[in-house]
Structures are given as C-alpha cells and as structure tokens.
Symmetry: C2
Subunit: 517 residues, 2 copies
C-alpha cells in the first residue's frame, strides 16, 4: 500500500445526543434541519416554461404551460443568470464534486468505460479528457476523484434519495452508481445520461423478456412496465414512496429529483400532448411541450406532498436544469435550428447563453423572500457549498478543491458573490452536433462581459451580456483592452486548474491558450 492520503471529516450537524444509555429511551426527533429537494431537469432551456426568466414574455413562454413552476416562483426567488455547463456530464460532475468543469475535465458526455465520445477531427488531436467521469475513489484512469456533497449530507444525518438520471461515472467505473456517491436510495439512476424511451409500452427500453435493448434503457422501474405510465410519472410516484419512507425515518431528507425529461427521444406524454396539438403545434412541438408539462406536473406533485405532510415550511426546494435546450440536433424539433432558446443564442452544447443559462428557482420558507428575482450570476458548482451550508454541515474536508462559492448571500439578499467573479468554461472537445458556439472553445464571464475563444481558429468574441443577451454583437474589435484582460484571466485559470486543449495534428503543437494569441 502506498503512503495513504489522510483526510478527516468534521461533521457539525449530526444532531441529537447519542449515548449508549439513552438509546433505549424514546427520543424526540432532535434533528430539525431542513429537508432539501433539488429538482433537476434534463436539457431544459431557459424558455421551456410559461414562467418568463427574461424581462419579456416570449413565444415559448406563451405556448408552454408550467403552472407549478409559476407556483414555486411565487413562493421563492427566481435566478435569471444561473449557469450550468454546455453538456450534462460536465454539469453533473461539477454538481456532485463542487469542481469547475476546467478542473474535473469531464467536458464531453460520458457513457462507456475507456471510450471517448468525441467526434474526430481531421486537423486537431483532442485531449485525453476524463471520459470515465467522476469517481469517489482513486484507481480508475480518466476519472476525476472528488468528495460527494451528498456523502457529506448523509454522514451528517440526512437520508439521501436519488431519483432519475445520475450520469456521474461511465459504465463499470466506481462512479456509475449513485449509491457510491452517498445516496441511500437509488431509483432508476445509472451511468447513462439519456433514456431509451419514456414509454412503459416498451418497458422504458426493455424487451418483452425483460432484457435492456440499449445502454440507455432505464433500470429499476419494472413495476410500471406495460402500465401506460410515462416515465416522468413513474419516477414521481417512486419518489413519493421514498418520501413516505423518509418521513418514517425521522431524519431530514435530501431528494435529488433528477428527471430524465426533457431529454430526447421526444416521446408523447399523452396526458398533455392533445392539448398542445389543439393549440396548433406540430406533432413534434406538441410532444416537446408535453414533456415539459409532465415534468411540471411532477414538480406540483412533490409540492403537494410537502404540503399534505406538513413538510412544506421546513423544506428547501431548488429548481434547476443541466444545460441549455436542445436546438442543434437535426430532426427532433420543428422550426429553425438554434432558435428555440431565444432571446438566448444557440442551445445545448454551446458556449453562448442558450447553452449554459438555466431556469432556476429557490424556495426556502422563512429565509428566502417569496416572489423575488435575483439577476446576479452563479454557476452549478456553487450548489455544493450552498447546499451544505443550508444543511448546517461545516468544516468538512474533501479530497479535492471546491471551486463553488455559496450563493447564500444572494438568497438572503445580504450580498452579491458575482461581483468581480470570473466564471470559466472549457470545451476542448467535439460534440455530436455542430452550431453557433458549439465545440472546441472556452469562455469566461466576468461582470457584464463574456469572452469566447476558439482553439482551432484563435478567434475571440466579446459580448456585453446585459446589453446584448442574444450575443449578436461581437464587440471584440472595439474593446481590445477588455479582450486582452479577459484572455489573460481565462488563460491563467485554465492553466492553473489543469484545463486541457487540443493540438494540431500537422505540427503536433498545442493550440494556443487564449492569452498566447
């Protein structure tokens, strides 16, 4: 055995007094810390809701119906500049480890062990990124090893529930199973970041003999096979069963309600599909709308459960999505590609706002003022320290640095953690789709400015985000000083945090960092 790494966890929040002689008494539940629900939607864009996150109500805001998001927003704070990463893996790995995507290097999407999902390039050699995802233990190549905040919650006394999509580690790596990350219950989560089907008619991706026919077949929902239950509903019913159980345990709970919705395939949720057809939407668009409303119905069901069970006042409810709405994939949507997140530009996979800006709401009775909006920015790794702070878990130690910063001051309206803060993204990869701002780039957001740098061409774009939310007006030429300053800060961060970059096949030389050109 090599020299071991020592780490110690000081857990401030294990509540209740424990002694061998008091155990037989009937203790009151002394752990009154809040329950926490993180409701994470997959591939949901900033406009995929009837709740306007922009200053104006858009076409899609008027088409889609998400009454429960409106209900949640009335009870909490909307965040209009909440960022994730352009793709699911990067976001979810940042969430669970607290590391920025530059550092964890899970920059493209993961699925199979030791198989990159990059498309190849004739001109560029792509970096050896962490295509095996994140891991909670060392020993696997091409993984980033981090400490899970869910594990810390659990060790502090929370009952921890995973429901839906996990997508932390590749198949056959230690990170593949949510249980390994500190979840005590795993409903339907595994390595895959997508789903074979929403439909119980095909057993969510299983043959009649019960065999999975895809790596994305959803595990663990056998009870719903053939019952006509859309998977969004099946997951909700299972989550509610887990909450019923959690209530018996007399522990605070953490529920990660991570819907497979609204990821492709855009199946029809027939509870809602006909309504949107009657509104005049095409079949594809109506199906997409039905995925959204099915997700919203789940949100409402969980809110109802909290109210019926007397837990609404002691539960923090966080709504989030993992990347921008899919707008590039051919064939899935109607209309002009790359426009579905307007006023934001582009969508999933892109460094433009359409790829990374998410609908986010936080409800916290007594702590967060209802019916408020916060226009300060934050990023997905900030959830890590924030949620631990919400749970009263302090002085924890981790095997790797935490890049996230608690956004508690914004929640409580006591401060602004975005001021002067640089957010950084890196995507030295080639995704399956192409389009505006997609592939082989990196970006920095600081105050009003955002710089996007393209590794292969050396191109730099500069946008003033508050003035130009659609990123249609590249002002790099007008502001060489800002470009230079942001390039330097971006380059320095990338090098410091271990960021990766492609290299040119012709010369074998690495593409320049943004401050080298």
């Amino acid at each position: 055995m090599n020299k071991p790494v020592l780490y110690s966890l000081t857990l401030a929040a294990l509540a209740g007094t424990v002694s061998p002689l008091s155990a037989q008494q009937a203790p009151e539940s002394t752990d009154k810390r809040p329950n926490i629900i993180l409701f994470m939607v997959d591939d949901m864009g900033w406009q995929d809701t009837s709740l306007p996150f922009w200053t104006e109500k858009t076409y899609y805001n008027s088409v889609y119906e998400t009454p429960n998001m409106e209900r949640l927003a009335k009870q909490g704070m909307m965040f209009t500049q909440a960022y994730a990463c352009p793709l699911s893996s990067a976001t979810r790995c940042s969430l669970i480890t607290g590391a920025n995507n530059v550092r964890h290097r899970v920059t493209n999407w993961t699925l199979e062990k030791n198989k990159t999902t990059d498309r190849s390039s004739e001109t560029l050699q792509l970096p050896d990124w962490n295509y095996n995802g994140v891991s909670q233990v060392p020993g696997t190549n091409n993984t980033y090893v981090g400490t899970s905040f869910v594990e810390l919650l659990r060790q502090s006394g929370y009952h921890t529930i995973h429901c839906g999509k996990a997508h932390f580690g590749a198949i056959d790596t230690p990170g593949e199973n949510p249980i390994h990350w500190g979840f005590e219950v795993n409903i339907a989560g595994h390595a895959a970041g997508g789903l074979a089907s929403y439909l119980s008619e095909v057993n969510y991706g299983h043959t009649k003999d019960g065999k999975p026919y895809s790596l994305m077949s959803i595990p663990g929902l056998e009870d719903y096979w053939g019952t006509g239950t859309f998977v969004t509903e099946a997951l909700t019913q299972e989550a509610i069963k887990a909450l019923d159980k959690a209530k018996k345990y007399n522990q605070p709970f953490y529920l990660y309600m991570a819907h497979y919705a609204i990821h492709i395939p855009i199946d029809k949720d027939m509870r809602f599909f006909p309504k949107y057809v009657r509104k005049g939407l095409s079949d594809k668009e109506a199906a997409y709308a039905s995925l959204i409303e099915g997700m919203d119905k789940s949100l409402g069901d969980l809110m109802d459960w909290l109210e019926k069970n007397g837990e609404a006042d002691n539960t923090i409810f966080i709504f989030m999505s993992d990347n921008g709405g899919l707008a590039a994939e051919p064939g899935w949507r109607d209309g002009t590609p790359h426009t579905q997140n307007a006023p934001l530009r582009s969508g999933k996979g892109s460094m433009y706002e359409g790829g990374i800006r998410e609908p986010m709401i936080v409800k916290w009775p007594g702590e967060v003022q209802p019916d408020t909006r916060c226009d300060k920015y934050l990023i997905i790794e900030d959830f890590y320290p924030t949620i631990l702070e919400m749970a009263g878990v302090k002085d924890y130690q981790t095997v790797a640095p935490i890049d996230g910063i608690s956004f508690m001051p914004m929640l409580k309206q006591t401060g602004d953690t975005s001021k002067g803060r640089a957010l950084v993204w890196n995507f030295p990869n080639i995704w399956g789709n192409d389009g505006p701002g997609i592939n082989l780039n990196c970006a920095i957001r600081k105050d009003d400015w955002k710089l996007v740098y393209y590794y292969e061409t050396g191109k730099k774009e500069l946008f003033n985000i508050p003035e130009d939310i659609g990123e249609t007006n590249d002002v790099a030429a007008q502001h060489p000083d800002i470009v230079k300053k942001l390039s330097k800060e971006l380059g320095e961060y990338l090098r410091k945090a271990g960021g990766q970059r492609p290299s040119f096949k012709a010369t074998g030389k690495a593409c320049p960092w943004p401050d080298e050109i």
Copy 2:
C-alpha cells in the same frame, strides 16, 4: 437544532494519491489492501458440517457433507470456541456496531416497528428492550445507535457488498436497509431475519402477481422467480455478479455473504436432497442436510471465483454462523429435541453452548497458518475491530463504545485475548420456544468457567466448559467462591453497560441482579 454531537473520522487507508492534476492520468491500482469475505450462515449449529469442531467426529459430522468447509479449514484456522448470541438479532447488531448484546439491548428478535416479539409472562414484566433494532442515526425510539464498521470500510475505500439476510433494524426504521449501514450494494437484504421460502416456485414468497405474501418474502430476486433456482444458489449467483463488478472497480471489496440458509422453513434443496434420502435420512432430516450442503456449495463457488480471478491470495475469508442450530422448534426436525448440537447442550435461543458456540474458520494467505486450530474463545463483536484492523483502518471514531477486541493475536498466533477476559450475554426476554437454558437469563464465560443466572428463579449454574462441554454437571454447589466472583463480575458488567432485567408483576420490583442474590 440541538447542540450537535461532533465526531471525526480519521481514515488511514484511503490509498492512492489524489490531486486534481493527477486525476487524468491512468493510475495503477494503488490500494492493495486485502479483500474480505464474511460468509455468515443463519442458524447453523456447531455440528451441522462434516468438519469436526469438537475433538471427536460426531454422528452429524458423518452424515452432513460440507467439502468446501473442509477445503477452507485446510487453508486456514478453525476456531473451536467462537461465540455469538443465542439469537440472530443480538448477534447481527453486535457485529455491525461492535457493541456487546448487554449494551445494545437488541436481545430478542426484531421485525416490526414498535412491536416486541416477546411472549408474555404471567409473573414477569419484561423490559422495554430495543425491539426496533440498531440504527445508524438517532431519532428512533427503542433502537441502539452505533457506527457501522462497514461504513468505515467504505469511507476508507472499500467497495462494500451485502448479499442475503440483513436483520439490523425493524421495518420502517433507518436501520432496516443495509445501504444505510455503508453497504454500496444490497442484494435481497431487509428488516426480516427469516425467509418465507427458499423456493423460486413461489417466487421466494411472492404471489403470481408479484406481491409479497409475508413480511419475510425475500426482496430483489425477481430474475430468479420461477426458474427452479433455490435461493441459496440465486444469492450466490448474484454475489458473483457483484464480485465481477467489484473487480472492474479496482477497489478492495468487502462481501458480507449472509445466507438465509439454513433458517427454517426447511425446504428441500433438490440438488442434494435425494442423496440424503438414499443415506437413510427422513425427509425432514434430508431436507435439513440439503440446506447445509447448498450453503457449502455456495462457499465453494465463492472460493472458486477467487481462484479463477487471481484474488485468492489477497482475500481474507471468514466463515461464521449467527447462533446455535435450531433444536427447540417443534415439528421442524426429527429426533429428540435439544440434542442436534450434541455434544453441546440445547440450541438456538439457549445460553448453553448449543445456543452460542459457532463453527468459525478464517483463511488469510500469508498471515494465518493453514490447517490450524485455535481453541481460545472470542465473541461476535470482536469481528468489528478485527476486520477494521485487517483493512488497515485505524484511529476511527464511533458514536458509541466498541466492546469487541481484535482477535488478530490469535490469528497470527502471537497472543491470547481470551485469557482472563469475561464474555457476557443477557436475555431478559421470552423467545418463541422453550427448552434448556432458553429465556430470562444471563451468563458469563471467563477462562474455564461459565455461570448462567436465571432472573425469575434466582438459580445459578456453574460449568467447567473444557471439562464438561455438554454442561451436564452443574458444580455451583461445589464452588461457591467462583459463583460469587462470577456473579459479581456479571452483575457489575450488566449495570455498567446498561443491561436490562425483568421485574415481578406481583411486587413491581426488579428481579435481582446475579450478585444481589
């Protein structure tokens, strides 16, 4: 929130060097700590094997066939005085928390929340014992709160697998689920300490519609329903799948192979049943023998897996049972009741050796001398510190005291932890069956002597165990000094560790402690 209890875990064994910049490299597996398999049989008596643990080969040794126990013993050390508790719950709660049964107060068997399983007494009021079992978190009445050694193994980097019977906490308490105790995989374990059926023909206790028809229906083996697979075999196949997966994780593993066998109902394992009928055994006795050989076949399959996968030399294999063989329950066996563990007296539920002395073997290549016997005594809670020591986990802290003492000196033949050590059992309860040494008593073993004290009658029995393994010769009258000394030590331990005792209904007075009479 009340003032929190702080605890810190310093984990010495997280192997490999972890740094953000090394994560992308392809690391060698640096964690070479041994795998550990604890193979725990249910209700297996000291003679339920062809491997003689006594100095003589008994009738049952000659009838049963356990070639793989013989194989394991040739490669390791047999323990001829390995103790558990008279019942499963007490043993398994001591195992997982490291606490003596006096302290944890889970002295009778557990199943349903807030329901005692004690039979009632006309004369005695039984204590309010911990009928909800053990829990890893506070907040539930009538539980003992302890830190799981499996959780410590897991936090140190072990991949932890539970297969079979759990029986830690009652239904709907936090301790009911092995995952909550630090297992990363749970195959078929839940609150119940028994099984509805071994038979796939009845889906191990489920109706054709898939509904459990008993609280003891075995969960999670749907793939084997209707396949003709005896549950012992189904569990083995699932365990081997989990080991295949563990090998991919590149972590050391801990497998708790906790068979439901050989607990009642004594179903026929048809792979072995006919052979025993041909030997002349009655149907009942042949069925019991088939349960034993089915368990032994599982043992061999696991040993084979280790050898085929190059893990045999780096795996510690521990064989154990949780209480004596069932010899009191009417109707299940043929022959004279209470004799089936001979030369030991009585069986499951009893303070006599037949209730608490177990077949135990430890194989540890390079550390434990093959084909050896150890005649020193130890007790089930000793497994806790021993296994952690085997795994190199040091300086751990727990929420409750650890009563177990590492038996590593005996394994390595460097010392004798039994010398001068008192082992204590308490059973202030009434089990479902009656018989010699069963119910409403406590006992102490120290060096050669064993004292059994009966709460209701005040009777004390003294045996010299090496001279009188069958406990047929009560020498209390001949050795009043030893009786007095052991009574004092037993009484003091019971009071110090929070032991419970019945009281007389007529007077409301507690039954005397053994040193009060």
